[in-house]
């Protein structure tokens, strides 16, 4: 059923949280397909289920019901350790609050995913330097995170997400902590990565201006997809 360029296929995905006696439906019956090379924006107000969806797609969490296929593999039934392997090899995360290790250089932060896969020390450094140059941070490799501006920190985070050549890049409000100009620069980086390297990117945002760079936009409300746009 999967053709060659389908990256993500979600089938009737549900996520139900039990808070005491009451059940909260964070996601309700989501079915969607993302193709390789897509740039998708997920939009919606807070509490609409954006983050829950991101966590499931990012293999940090598992759906209560439904199936999730990544590159044809049903990841919704994998155990914790296998999910960690998938996160390591196939997924790159960029967070709103950067999530870099403090008091650590840009290079070491970028190397981090490679520490958990079988890459030798020399190769690790090579690939980390390459990823850093891709986001325009040549010459800042040995700066510590607290010596970098917000925009630069987010570039390090992008470099880190790219360093293991993932199939999918997930960005959760990547411009939320940045000023408009810097935010635009970061979005440009995503756009270039998508167009030139054909990397699949899913962008969670509530700013429609930023979502406009995406070819496809879906709107979530109360855990359901309420609208889809193409451009």
């Amino acid at each position: 059923m999967d053709n060659n360029n389908t990256l993500i296929r979600l089938e009737n995905l549900k996520k139900i949280y039990e808070v005491g006696e009451t059940k909260v439906n964070a996601l309700w019956d989501i079915s969607y397909t993302v193709k390789e090379g897509d740039l998708l924006a997920i939009m919606g107000p807070s509490g609409s289920g954006k983050s829950t969806l991101m966590n499931i797609v990012g293999c940090l969490d598992k759906p209560t019901e439904g199936k999730y296929f990544l590159e044809g593999e049903e990841v919704s039934k994998l155990d914790k350790n296998k999910l960690a392997r998938i996160r390591n090899k196939k997924i790159g995360f960029v967070f709103q609050i950067f999530n870099l290790l403090s008091r650590t250089t840009a290079l070491e932060n970028t190397e981090l995913p490679l520490l958990y896969s079988n890459v030798s020390g020399k190769k690790r450094k090579e690939r980390a330097l390459e990823a850093l140059s891709l986001v325009g941070l040549e010459g800042r490799e040995l700066h510590r995170t607290n010596q970098l501006s917000g925009g630069e920190q987010q570039r390090v985070a992008i470099a880190r997400s790219l360093v293991n050549n993932p199939s999918l890049l997930l960005a959760d409000e990547p411009t939320g902590n940045l000023d408009t100009k810097t935010g635009a620069e970061i979005i440009d980086i995503f756009k270039n990565l998508n167009e030139e390297k054909n990397i699949t990117i899913i962008l969670v945002t509530h700013e429609s201006e930023i979502a406009r760079v995406a070819q496809r936009r879906i709107y979530l409300r109360d855990g359901q997809i309420v609208k889809e746009e193409h451009s």
């Binding site: 966590n55 392997r85 999530n99 870099l100 290790l101 520490l115 958990y116």
Partner: protein, 406 residues
């Protein structure tokens, strides 16, 4: 992850917080250092005691009146005396495993020289006493068999008596009064040093036992004890058996009846003393181990705080693909690295401390390889034991909550 990489990750994490890492390791440093220093003091004391006994001679036998195990029967040492000069002669003649023999009597007396006086121990001994005890003459001579037989009023001074009565004056040939009886000084003993608190072996005057019997004690047919040296250490037990046999005949003890004397063996006494210092070593080491334990609890405490403080870091690591096992091993390795590094530094501190103690306090210390190995192993296990719980706690965190943690 390979072990080398885990260690690399752990050291990176530890070096991001050098001060905290050092303070955590400090508990182990002090613990290991204390164990090594304390055990080295105990071992040194043991060695010192052994050396002291060896210098006295392991071929020595002491004959005392009465049985030491029924001491209560005597009603105070010295009141019941049944050893005679004749016993000593019989042993000398008949026991072929015996080399030298010296009948002894002792008392305390006030001694006077010029305008100085000094209360000291007076030892009446035989002519071979210095050979039996390995004592050396600093100046002059020791009395010979003839002087003993004729009961001459000659004496040999211990170095402390000489210092107190003569203060630099040349003593040989001078006359001192012991219980108002004049004695001619014919020699001075070489200082033997403190003997470890029993009595000062330099604070004594040695005179022929015959003279002591007649002039100072007024009892010529009894001696208080007899010191014997066997011809060799190997024949000490043989000499002991011969002496017992001879004395039983001398004292007319019926077969099966108990001895009315006791022969003690120097090596037995030495073993007893060494055993008591061994207990001291165990005691000191035990007390020091408590500080090692406290150091381990310190590591657990800091690692627990560290896990809470680094929840975000753990979340980040999980999000980029760290498995539970990776996080567990990282935190466990951090604890082990801290305690092993602390252990290595602690060994240095312990060795240095024991050197300082032996330098300034003048105590003999002995750093044994066994103590070092034990302290090192113990500190490593402390790291594993107290590091495991915090590491497990870290590895069980939920990545989503860890990433969201403020």
């Amino acid at each position: 992850m390979k072990i080398a990489r885990i260690i690399q990750v752990s050291i990176r994490a530890l070096s991001r917080n050098k001060m905290r890492s050092f303070l955590t390791a400090l508990g182990i440093i002090i613990g290991v250092g204390a164990v090594i220093a304390m055990v080295s003091i105990g071992q040194g004391a043991k060695r010192a005691v052994e050396d002291r006994f060896n210098s006295m001679g392991t071929n020595l036998l002491f004959i005392h009146a009465g049985s030491l195990s029924f001491r209560g029967r005597h009603g105070g040492g010295g009141t019941y005396q049944n050893l005679t000069p004749g016993d000593a002669e019989a042993i000398q003649e008949r026991a072929d495993a015996v080399q030298y023999i010296s009948p002894n009597v002792s008392t305390r007396a006030q001694t006077i020289y010029g305008n100085k006086n000094w209360n000291t121990s007076i030892q009446g001994v035989g002519a071979k006493y210095t050979e039996i005890r390995n004592w050396e003459i600093e100046e002059g001579i020791f009395f010979d068999e003839n002087m003993v037989k004729s009961g001459q009023k000659v004496c040999v001074l211990g170095s402390e008596v000489k210092n107190n009565l003569f203060e630099g004056e040349y003593p040989i040939g001078k006359i001192i009064r012991i219980k108002k009886i004049p004695f001619r000084i014919i020699g001075v003993l070489r200082s033997k040093g403190e003997s470890g608190g029993w009595f000062n072996r330099d604070d004594m005057i040695v005179i022929p036992y015959t003279t002591a019997q007649r002039r100072l004690i007024g009892m010529t047919d009894r001696v208080q004890s007899i010191d014997v040296s066997a011809v060799s250490t190997a024949r000490t037990n043989e000499a002991l058996e011969q002496i017992e046999e001879i004395l039983r005949i001398q004292h007319k003890i019926a077969p099966g009846a108990e001895d009315d004397f006791h022969v003690s063996n120097m090596s037995e006494i030495a073993e007893g003393a060494a055993e008591s210092t061994q207990i001291l070593t165990i005691l000191l080491g035990g007390i020091a181990s408590v500080s090692l334990l406290v150091g381990g609890i310190g590591i657990m405490n800091i690692m627990l705080v560290s896990v809470t403080e680094r929840i975000r870091e753990i979340g980040i690591r999980m999000s980029v693909g760290a498995r539970e096992k990776d996080i567990l091993l990282q935190f466990l390795t951090e604890a082990i690295v801290l305690s092993v590094l602390g252990g290595i530094i602690g060994i240095g501190v312990g060795v240095a401390t024991s050197r300082l103690i032996s330098h300034f306090a003048g105590w003999k210390t002995l750093v044994s390889v066994g103590a070092i190995a034990l302290a090192f192993l113990f500190s490593g296990s402390v790291g594993i034991f107290f590091g495991f719980y915090p590491a497990r706690k870290a590895s069980k965190l939920d990545p989503i909550e860890a990433l969201r943690y403020e």
